[in-house]
């Protein structure tokens, strides 16, 4: 019986030893941000941009990532065309 208890105690201590350092260590946290939206690439076709956007958004959705995107270069033709096509949706 004692032996059984001591085995349990040892097991519990071992569990604590492996768990507590991990618990003591703060949870690492990161916020993901994307700059220069809509796209920065040598790809300049509407189809190319749509593909890059779809792939990025697919990964974000699959992993439920809360992301902030920072928008710029709104003067480029490609951006204007993307915004126009988006506003048609």
């Amino acid at each position: 019986m004692f032996r059984r208890i001591s085995v349990l105690v040892v097991a519990a201590l071992a569990a604590l030893a492996t768990v507590s350092p991990a618990q003591a260590q703060e949870q690492k946290q990161v916020a993901i941000t994307f700059d220069d939206l809509p796209i920065v690439s040598t790809v300049h076709t509407d189809e190319g941009w749509a593909e890059i956007t779809a792939k990025l958004l697919g990964t974000m959705k699959r992993n439920k990532l809360p992301v902030v995107g920072l928008l710029t270069k709104i003067n480029s033709m490609a951006t204007i065309s993307l915004i126009r096509s988006a506003s048609r949706c």
């Binding site: 946290q29 990161v30 994307f34 920065v40 990025l56 902030v68």
Partner: protein
């Protein structure tokens, strides 16, 4: 852009034409912010989405305290919060190399760049975790900077897996900014665009050795991208 909003992602202002506050007169720079806001307002209004974050192009925050403070009070007046970056990196160089390899129909070179990309980004996480520990004695809530480019379209999933493997939980920028680290003083006015961890450290006058160990971009990636150093 509607696709991003539809996906539940938040959009922020990064100016209309991505000029640097270090080389653009303040008044012009501010009107570039407001020009950018016009388009963003249309996009976010339709979705009932918030518009609250501003990020400095090139992470250039101003060459004098007067400019910095004047611009920050302008942002305040217009309802913006600065979106800082702690895990700054040169992912854009890998993206450039990846694009060039793709444009040259060289899938082997694309694969080499992609293969180096994930370990490179992981070394940046290790670097800023280390600086976070040295400066704050703990792991602060980090903010990662990436770009919407081809290499991330193809390999962002691997990057996410790497972060998970390092024990990261993904949080909103709003949540990250609740960390007291972001209340630290930053009086840097150098001709650079750097991590906020580096800025807080510089403001505290840490010895130069503090910054040691910043990862380097592999030479073959620099060469392929046509970039001098990174």
């Amino acid at each position: 852009m509607k696709a991003w909003l539809d996906a539940g992602l938040e959009l922020g202002n990064h100016t209309f034409s991505h000029r640097s506050l270090h080389s653009t007169p303040l008044a012009e720079f501010q009107s570039d912010v407001l020009r950018g806001e016009k388009v963003l307002r249309e996009l976010t209004k339709a979705k009932g989405a918030k518009l609250r974050y501003f990020r400095h192009p090139f992470l250039h925050t101003g060459r004098s305290l007067e400019t910095r403070q004047a611009f920050e009070s302008f942002l305040n007046t217009h309802g913006y919060t600065v979106a800082p970056v702690t895990i700054d990196n040169s992912e854009w160089i890998f993206a450039g190399a990846y694009d060039k390899a793709r444009d040259a129909n060289d899938p082997a070179a694309m694969a080499r760049v992609a293969e180096a990309y994930i370990p490179y980004m992981e070394s940046y996480f290790a670097h800023f975790e280390n600086l976070s520990e040295k400066l704050f004695g703990r792991q602060i809530k980090q903010v990662l900077l990436l770009h919407a480019n081809s290499i991330n379209a193809d390999h962002f999933g691997e990057l996410v897996a790497m972060m998970k493997k390092r024990g990261y939980k993904f949080i909103t920028l709003e949540e990250a900014l609740t960390d007291n680290a972001y209340r630290s003083t930053d009086t840097t006015t150098g001709a650079y665009g750097i991590s906020w961890i580096d800025r807080w450290a510089l403001t505290r006058n840490v010895p130069a050795g503090f910054f040691k160990g910043e990862p380097r971009t592999p030479a073959f990636v620099l060469k392929l991208a046509g970039v001098e150093a990174g």
